[in-house]
Subunit: 174 residues, 4 copies
């Protein structure tokens, strides 16, 4: 387990504006530089930008595909995981990630944020959905908003390291 | 197809306050009285209340279970569908429903609202999440908020009938 | 639970010879006459024949669909369950069934037999695969071969009743 | 695509005899030496032996887990993919593999062989199930039996290379 590289998910829509695509590519690159594996949905848009950034920095990209064929993965995916489950694969992207960075405002991204909240996967949102619980005027506290690609990576990295600590301690004590 | 009963999903958390449980039971009953099948996640809380209302009015409840055993369904489920997929079954609840009524503010419910938006399943929220797209101060227009059990049923019923119309017309013209 | 109708799966390929289609229709009819719900994959061939037999005898057919749309169900499916998971839905057909009747020799049918063996769902094969464990010349004992539609229904019915007995006894003792 | 390492699945039960575990470890090692990624179900027995062999030779192991936690992966899995789908994950193991090596005679392994046949994933069986189509005395021709770990690797490797050829040719012509 100790040697297992951190897995950080990057999710966002197939159609995204240029500034968010640039942020996704930065995030992919910085995650690779820290030794993390990028987990994504394997298709275009934000997923492709994050994969490109990661691979160009020498990292590994796991693309969890909705379709029935590995040939549908974007060109930067190192390891396509072929689910054939369509949007049913979103939950596998979330479960596989030790932390999730959500970029932009598509409905698919919203579903991944919601599943992360449901499954206690720490989630960091960049220019993403605002969520308010019923009757509340305040933003959902479990969705952490970040202001930049750098902050997203730093926060995700910290929480993954913190969550791995008790594991290490437990192993040492055995 | 014409004789196939409408399928309307009712989603909400396992822990819910009394007023929402009462609303869910009302919704289940009124759907049964109109001849709809209630689709739900098959477990406790809102799911069980909606199932109880439906079955007591003579309706059929399909419970799409997260677990590996039909024995885990609540007592009012007529037809358990056993997925063994844990929260991965949420998307099947959504896809199976011609319209979705979402009650209350759990994270699982949020994931079902998001999946409905993603998959173009009309969704009506009763005392549920407020959603704002990035940078917007306005509520997400595709999530229709309703004020009562009766309004939820009426709106869901209307949209299901409207969506079935072109189908009927197309069949008649063949 | 007591009032919950038995769910019996009927699986087989989209392409099947006439005699097997006739057997599937007989099986569907006889299951409906005994009050069982027919669970199937919702598409053509054996699935459609079993559904036709069931519905014409007044029964209910649950069709667990591989596609993303209820419109893909065959015309006899009462309740389409829309998975969008392609062949990934086979395991849900198996898990949902209290006993499984497998007809003919397609690869999909083989996968459903195998999953039933794996999940301890009793499975009865009519003109279906021969299975031999490694190094064995004898047929796999857990796959019961039957000779007719009538025998398939009778054997499946018996095992479902037997499996429900302890449940009833346990309930009575509470 | 060209640079994407071949993905070869190794499937087999959690309980397996020593000679098969040794074969699985050999297979994992030889696949790693050729530069393939080993895809497996991530748990114990054959899955663990194949993972061990692969990792000790410097390879990468993708473990597609049935459970809800990456902590359930065996110690040699490099990249756990967390499905939370229980045996529903078997089809993802198969779909993700460009060729499949099936070892031994568990029911789960049979389901993976059957899904591979259904989905046209080339499958090579070592000391595994004998399959006969209805009414046939001959072994199913699409399941290739191999006699050793070396033959399994060689045959799987060849078919993956052959299937990648048209892709390369098509790319060159564009």
């Amino acid at each position: 387990m100790k040697g297992r590289p951190p897995r950080i998910g990057v999710v966002g829509g197939r159609d995204a504006e240029a500034s968010l695509l640039a942020a996704a590519e930065d995030i992919g690159r910085e995650l690779a530089e820290r030794g993390a594996i990028v987990v994504c949905g394997g298709m275009g848009g934000i997923m492709e930008a994050a994969a490109r950034g990661c691979v160009r920095a020498g990292g590994i990209v796991v693309g969890i595909l909705p379709t029935e064929s590995a040939a549908d993965a974007n060109a930067h995916v190192t390891i396509p995981v072929v689910t054939g489950m369509n949007e049913g694969r979103n939950i596998i992207v979330v479960r596989t990630s030790e932390a999730l960075i959500a970029i932009g405002g598509s409905y698919g991204t919203l579903s991944e944020i919601a599943l992360a909240l449901r499954l206690n996967v720490p989630v960091f949102g960049l220019n993403t959905w605002g969520l308010r619980q019923p009757g509340s005027a305040a933003a959902e506290p479990a969705l952490t908003c970040v202001e930049s690609a750098q902050e997203a990576v730093e926060r995700a990295w910290q929480v993954v390291q913190a969550n791995r600590l008790p594991e290490r301690r437990a192993k040492r004590q055995q």
